[in-house]
Amino acid sequence: MNFELSDEQQLLADSLRKYLANDYSFDARTKIVASTVGYSEKTWAAFAEMGLLGLPFAEEHGGFGGSAVDVMLVMEALGESLVVEPYWTNVGVAGRLIARGGSEAQGERILPALIQGKQRLAFAHTETGSRYDLRHVGARAKRAGGGWTLEGEKRAVLHAASAETLIVSARTSGADTDTGGISLFLVDRRAPGVTLKEYRTIDELRAADIWLNDVSVSADALLGGEGQALGLIEEVADYATALLCAEAVGAIRYANDTTLEYLKTRRQFGVPIGTFQALQHRMVEMVISYEQARSMACLACVKADTAGAAERRRVISAAKIKVADACRHVSQESVQMHGGMGMTEELKVSHTFRRLTMIAQTFGDAEHHLERFAAADAAPGA
């Protein structure tokens, strides 16, 4: 057992941090967020250049065959700097779906382009009323000619407008919440019948609601087995959740560092406010939350691509419970302890607050994972 990072891991994390410190300051980020598209092609190209986009993918596609722990270090750094580019969506979710569920031809067609920064994807899954239940899919796909026709609505699809290709879940059989009958399709975002309504999210990402009206795709658009997608979606959601926990850890570290700094410099009643025990003890609790969340993020990433399904479910849900609780705790306290300044758009801590709030509920809030953890415990063989 050891927690040491390899030289390669340390090197990559250091060079990414250095890049972000120089090229992704809070001011630079503010400009990117305010731009029309809401992300920076320059940053994306730099990520491709650094090898970040290929980190977990197979070498045959131009990747580096990295583990979830390798990606964890990247996610922590992105979390600290509140990076808005669609790294997690592409590398952690959509790319992972292709790598784990795609045919050889699909992998060949998409992954090298993704790794080189030439193609982006998004995962269109959530629907009205589905909440965090991954089984809940009402969109339908019917066989038509040699291919398929898709019909339905998708909600809150992260980074949809910046993607060339959408991975859309749709039912090829069964009722809305059946475990079987869900299939995944690769859909050109500009295909006839695809309508996007894009919006900003509270944490300054971009998302879209999507309408699919009589959208035709060819037979080779089917990703994985027909009606068999739920297992793949669950596995990838767990993997992506582990990475999200790591992003949260980075953002929490920033929130703690900046709050501690504020306690030492902000003076009231003639003394730094950090001399007040009421605030000291709360700051200590934030640090403990960070350490506990960090431990669970490590555990989640170690297990995300090594454990069997039963253990993986249990550990990832445990991690998300702890991390969601820590996100809420640290984000709220960091704003409170900054006083009025913590409320302002001007301070990065209010942006960290928003990102942590959204991470806490992405792919399931604490309550969702409490339920899932209990179910995993009760399952035979757990």
């Binding site: 003890h281 403990i288 350490e291 506990q292 490590c298 550990v315 702890k322 209990a374 009760a378």
Partner: protein
């Protein structure tokens, strides 16, 4: 990063587990599992079994009987002991007095006391707190006046755990009241509990148990050779010792065992005809405790890993383990009592009736464990330590 044990570590774990299975007496295990009070003989019996095996003081230097285990091996050993429900070792002797002697004691003091501690021949207790000096330890008043080749000690200690079993007490005493800085006039003395002038008076806690005591010193003569480190340097010794004291308070192995027990209990007791384990409100509280414990185990391992790599003694970070570890211990006792519901009111049978012993220990155990966030430096003191030493506030 690799969170799995290596093949060697797994083999070591199996060895420890197998040995515990065949060497931990069943009646001791049952007593620990059902939260019964352990007698002095119970504690020493287990101590001697471990001493015979050579495992009673893993963290001592090898020449004094240490095992030369790696940090991970020591952790595995503790974890397995906790999980197997061994009685606790007498920490005041092995984990507090001994490290102090090893660090600050003279060769004669080491030769005199360490072998006896190892063999379980001397039982030690700790004389720190006083009626007016709890969290503010440096305000202590018990006074030691040098007269020729001995000190004369007068004063009172309180919350002295297991003083009624102890052969010796290590004490913080004031040898110089004139110093401007209160910490400067304090010394560290080893006192024979059989010395004339010592009176031990029990303090009964709210669970009815006798663990802790008041100890009165009335002109007690202590040979000067029992001074550890220099006169007036007792605070340095005390601070050194506090890190060691906190290291052992996480009790992660024991909490893991108790959590298993809690789940069994919650599967047994029902609400509306269903196990209370399946009640979402109960289950959520239980899961959050379980998750904190999973996280604390990794946090503990991360800190141990840092210690191993830096070669430094435990820093202020271990205060976090104390805070979280004790919060978890308390939460488990509370949920156990809640799981049993109205049956947890039972306390002690009035005659030889058949009695569910375990259920009757739940409420007393809950009461008793409120001590955990108070002892060994209250959790508020731990937060002060982290704020100052780690955060620089």
């Amino acid at each position: 990063m690799d969170l799995n044990y290596s093949a060697e570590e797994l083999a070591f774990r199996d060895e420890v587990r197998g040995w515990l299975r065949s060497n931990l007496p069943a009646e001791l295990r049952q007593k620990v599992e059902s939260y019964q009070e352990l007698s002095k003989e119970d504690l020493l019996r287990w101590h001697r079994i471990l001493a015979d095996k050579g495992w009673v003081a893993p963290d001592w230097p090898k020449e004094w009987g240490g095992t030369d285990w790696t940090v991970t091996q020591r952790y595995i050993f503790e974890e397995e002991c906790g999980f197997a429900a061994t009685p606790p070792l007498v920490a005041f002797s092995l984990r507090m007095c001994a490290p102090v002697l090893l660090r600050f004691g003279t060769e004669a003091q080491k030769q005199r006391f360490l072998p006896r501690i190892y063999k379980g021949e001397d039982f030690w207790c700790q004389g720190y707190s006083e009626p007016g000096s709890g969290s503010d330890l440096a305000s202590l008043k018990t006074k030691a006046v040098r007269q020729g080749d001995h000190y004369v000690v007068t004063g009172q200690k309180i919350w002295t755990t297991l003083a009624h079993h102890a052969d010796w007490i290590f004490c913080l005493v004031r040898t110089d009241a004139s110093k401007e800085k209160r910490q400067d006039g304090i010394s560290f003395l080893l006192i024979d509990m059989k010395s004339p002038g010592i009176t031990v008076r029990p303090i009964i806690l709210m669970d009815g148990g006798h663990e802790t005591n008041e100890v009165f010193f009335d002109d007690v003569k202590v040979p000067a050779e029992n001074l550890v480190h220099e006169e007036g340097k007792g605070w340095t010794v005390a601070k050194y010792l506090l890190g060691y004291e906190r290291m052992g308070t996480g009790r992660i192995g024991a909490s893991k065992r108790e959590l298993v027990r809690l789940k069994e209990l919650a599967a047994h007791h029902t609400k509306n005809g269903r196990p209370i384990l399946d009640d979402p409100r109960f289950r959520d509280r239980l899961t959050r405790v379980e998750v904190e414990l999973m996280a604390l185990e990794i946090t503990n391992l991360r800190f141990l890993d840092q210690m191993r790599r830096s070669g430094k003694p435990p820093g202020a970070d271990v205060s976090m383990l104390k805070i979280k570890g004790t919060e978890i211990q308390q939460a488990i006792t509370e949920l156990m009592m809640q799981a049993a519901g109205p049956l947890a009111q039972a306390y002690r049978p009035l005659d030889a009736m058949d009695f569910d012993h375990f259920t009757a220990r739940l409420a007393p155990r809950y009461c008793n464990m409120r001590k955990a966030t108070i002892y060994a430096g209250s959790n508020e003191i731990q937060r002060n330590i982290i704020a100052k030493a780690t955060l620089g506030l």
